[in-house]
Amino acid sequence: MSWTSSLQRKLSEGLPYDQLLPDEQPAYVHSYVYLFGVATIGSFVLLVVTGVILAAFGPQWWHGAAVGHFFNSLHFWAAQAFFFFMVVHLWTAFFQGAWRDGRGLTWVSGVVTFLVSIVTAFTGYVSQQNFDSQWIATQGKDAMNSVGVGAFFNVLNFGQMYGFHVFIMPVVVAGLMGVHLTLVRLRGVVRPYDLPGPSKRRVSEVA
């Protein structure tokens, strides 16, 4: 069997077409804590939309015009919301042991997405084109040089950082989020831990 046929069979078995956008979930998913992942995705969509508008008009617009300022602020607060929800989602996954029952790769892909997002945010902070970004870049260059990547990742080079921020990093983050979501859909949401003690009903009995 060719690799395309094998991939096609795996996908059609793991992700049947009629279950791609499920309208029901296990009973234990009935809680607000399960909404932080999708809140992170929502913030990411807002980041991309505002980022495209900022990129289209450029630094003079986002620093000088009133509407530019507004979109600059929207992009900034979307980044705050993105990390806010991602960290609370991480806490939820951590305290539930979301890596259990064959979900190790789901957890690892989430952690990698988090780390790559930090680099993405950093390239954004040094792309602002103001004194703040100059300060961050001159401080950050020492960190890059100390780990030996300064020659390839020059934080004082606006063009390079801007290219990373508006194209390379968003594509990587979106790809990682796609992998993470696919794994969540393939393996489902982890069952909560059973309550201790013989008198308590087990999750497997109520779910």
Binding site: P26, F84, V87, W91
Partner: protein
């Protein structure tokens, strides 16, 4: 914006007030998400 940041300094802990507020908000939202009952709407359950 154009002023030095306020810092919370307690022993070896040194953190800007802005970061401290964000962390406190995250803990509050996390606790609220666990404690506040989810509305039992029309959605199907399994």
């Amino acid at each position: 914006m154009d002023a030095p940041a306020h810092y919370f300094h307690w022993g070896f802990i040194l953190i800007s007030t802005a970061n401290l507020i964000v962390i406190a908000l995250m803990i509050l939202v996390f606790a609220a998400a666990i404690l506040v009952p989810y509305p039992s709407g029309k959605g199907k359950q399994r």
